[in-house]
Amino acid sequence: MILGRSERGKPPVEPVTLKILVAGGFGVGKTTCVGAVSEIRPLRTEEVLTEAGRPVDDTRGVESKHTTTVAMDFGRITLREDLVLYLFGTPGQHRFWFLWDELASGALGAVVLVDTRRLEDCFAAVDYFERRSIPFVVAVNCFEGAARHPAEDVRQALDLDPDVPVVLCDARERESVKEVLVTVVRHAMTYAADRDRSVTT
């Protein structure tokens, strides 16, 4: 076969795929953030959970309802023909956290989107990524009209490690979200380098 061409024409390129998670409380702008940079309208994928998957739920009164649907929004950025980045908005409800494990596995890193008016909404996400040693950055979504707090105040309020980047952003602005994603990847690189060092020494 010459140049791997098949009868049907050029075989499709098989890109390397990477993913970054976008976490944060309900209504903080996760889907907006994904949509600002995605080349496709954010898609929604759903997972149907059966009873076995959610043993702690109280289903009294809804006995006939044996499944729950969890929606995840995601977007795609084709960086090169052979390099595609996917963004996944994590399900907001806490009881679906076991789904995060799947989303987080193999993730390059994560953005924790924060609304300073409801800072506590992001505590759980910060905890999650800290515990699993997933590199993350905190992006403060500067809602119009919301009092702006310096990044350092947010860092203190969240009791973040000094190496965790805190950036201000506007989740509606493409350039702003791009910059946040660059910060995530940079942080992931540093993180990996630090880890290598700690393993070898």
């Binding site: 993913k19 929604r44 390099l83 980045l85 997933i134």
Partner: protein, 131 residues
């Protein structure tokens, strides 16, 4: 979308209680031997020789749809789920069938961040900047 159990193969009755409709397409299966390989961003690629899929009676319309969708450009498991409007678990089982039938193959799962080659991360940064 025709998500009916194929043929008259009704293995359940009313006593079985409500049946999760999407999983009827997988004939009740919720997992597949190849499932562990199917990350959400694993890409499904149709094999070039998978031409005459219509003739294969064992394939459901959903199977065929996946084969067609992934023919021209590979699709991630997440994208297929969104496109077919099916739960991810169902798509995994269907893709598993197609892998077994050698009609598609699936790209390797992505290594964790700390194992990604640094040059790829640089490419990602440059790619984002150039958007």
């Amino acid at each position: 979308m025709s998500g009916d159990v194929q043929g008259n193969d009704h293995w359940f009755d009313d006593d079985a209680g409500p049946v999760v409709r999407p999983y009827a397409m997988t004939r009740g299966r919720t997992s597949h031997a190849v499932q562990h390989r199917l990350d959400l961003i694993a890409l499904v690629v149709t094999e070039p020789h998978a031409d005459d899929t219509e003739a294969d009676g064992s394939l459901s319309p959903e199977h065929l749809h996946i084969v067609e969708l992934c023919r021209d450009s590979p699709q991630s498991v997440a994208e297929l789920a969104a496109e077919l409007d099916l739960p991810i678990g169902v798509v995994r089982v269907l893709v598993g069938d197609l892998v077994d039938g050698e009609l598609v193959h699936v790209t390797r799962p992505v290594p964790p961040a700390e194992l990604v080659d640094e040059s790829i991360l640089r490419d990602v940064i440059n790619g984002l900047r150039a958007l």
